[in-house]
């Protein structure tokens, strides 16, 4: 498991003591990550799998192994909270909530992940409002 995950300067500055990452994820999500037996069901149904650097089951493993670079993974921001993985996990682990917890760990440290200013006026006028509110909630906080 040595994947190349591009580093984000600000995110890389977040400091965790040993074991703190998994603790914070569990606190925010209310999920027990250690129940995961790495079957990969979550990843097999994820609609964004082709574009992810870490698959959802790898994300879980990285957190358990205290590998903080998981916070730099684009997987967190590709996940659109479609609930497919949560619906199918045989161990009843809500991965959707774990992805949210990882985003929250970053957002709560005042680092956001959006650049809507680049969206053209024409696009802004036709994209449904629900898309904007979702994006702001997921990527800004």
């Amino acid at each position: 498991m040595h994947k190349k995950i591009p580093k984000n300067k600000e995110i890389s500055k977040i400091i965790f003591k040993k074991g703190e990452l998994v603790k914070e994820v569990e606190e925010i999500s209310g999920e027990n990550l250690f129940g995961c037996y790495q079957c990969g069901t979550c990843s097999s149904g994820c609609p964004y799998i082709d574009d992810m650097d870490l698959t959802p089951d790898e994300v879980i493993r990285y957190i358990i192994l205290d590998r903080k670079e998981v916070l730099n993974s684009k997987t967190l921001w590709l996940c659109s909270a479609c609930f497919t993985c949560a619906e199918r996990c045989p161990r009843d682990i809500n991965i959707t909530k774990i992805m949210e917890a990882l985003r929250q760990i970053i957002l709560r440290r005042k680092i956001d992940y959006s650049n809507t200013r680049k969206t053209t006026k024409k696009e802004r006028e036709k994209i449904p409002q629900i898309a904007f509110v979702s994006l702001f909630r997921k990527n800004i906080g």
Partner: protein
């Protein structure tokens, strides 16, 4: 029957045609969707953090306003609003302590008593009107049109707030049966359309739209039926853009279920606001002789 209705932001802006066609159906059925007073934006995506109650305030406010208006039922048209309102409603009903905290936080509102039930309009048509009733009222059957049902996420997941089976929903099949259409069932009907990535990650959404629609395209489907305004935008607009990415690919027209019901019931197609779509939905209906303009 007058039913209280929660519109949400999108129904008042980019999905006016969804609202108009739903209103027209209700009129035909001698019912009325009455827009509730003092609705506020639902927040669109339900909070997934256990320790963050604040995100439940907005949906809860609207639920309180439903109670204030003396009703115990509220109808939504937008899948995302419906999901968010249902999830907050469920959370406060299951966790009285959370409700107490939320009630204590709000000073202008009355306390929420937990009496409201949230319905998707499609759920209402199935359970209270009945598709058999719609079938009896059909004037322009959708005969010979091959339609692929598409559900997306928010109507089906999480399971606790789903309006149908989370893995193999049938509600659109039953509706299309009643309207006289042919059904092209498919495994991608429950996959995400790309959602809000449509703003900053357009190409990924075009890929999603192609992935979902191509299955229908290859099986000679003529159109797709769906419910959510964001799914409509992504499959229709980003799907059209996908034609430039995938050689030989052609986006097929997308209809809201309310538009197809309205057409089948003989309501004036003007109501459907087809001009807002990227792929013209009129052509197919004319070609198949459903109506003539």
């Amino acid at each position: 029957m007058k039913l209280l209705y929660f519109p949400g932001c999108t129904l008042k802006t980019s999905a006016k045609n969804l609202e108009k066609s739903a209103n027209a159906i209700m009129e035909k059925l001698s019912h009325e969707l009455k827009e509730m007073d003092d609705w506020v934006c639902c927040g669109v995506v339900s909070s997934l953090s256990d320790d963050d109650l604040m995100r439940h305030l907005a949906p809860l406010r609207s639920l309180i306003h439903v109670e204030d208006q003396g009703e115990d039922k509220v109808i939504t048209l937008c899948d995302m609003c419906c999901n968010t309102l249902k999830q907050t409603n469920l959370r406060v009903k299951e966790k009285p302590d959370d409700l107490e905290t939320l009630n204590a936080f709000m000073d202008k509102e009355n306390d929420y008593k937990g009496t409201v039930n949230v319905y998707h309009f499609l759920e209402f048509l199935r359970d209270e009107v009945g598709f058999s009733k719609l079938k009896q009222m059909v004037k322009n059957p959708l005969k010979g049109i091959r339609i692929m049902p598409y559900y997306g996420c928010m109507m089906l997941r999480p399971r606790e707030v789903a309006i149908d089976d989370a893995e193999d929903p049938q509600i659109f099949n039953d509706l299309l049966d009643a309207l006289g259409a042919e059904i092209v069932d498919n495994p991608f009907k429950i996959e995400c359309c790309g959602s809000y990535h449509t703003i900053e990650n357009k190409d990924i959404v075009s890929k999603r739209a192609h992935h979902i629609t191509n299955y229908a395209f290859e099986r000679n489907a003529d159109a797709i039926i769906l419910s959510c305004p964001l799914c409509r935008f992504n499959l229709d607009v980003r799907g059209k853009e996908a034609e430039l990415m995938f050689k030989g690919y052609k986006q097929i027209p997308i209809y809201y279920y309310t538009q197809l019901i309205a057409i089948a019931l003989g309501i004036d197609p003007e109501i459907c606001g087809f001009d807002d779509h990227a792929v013209d939905p009129n052509l197919l209906l004319k070609k198949k002789g459903v109506y003539k303009i």
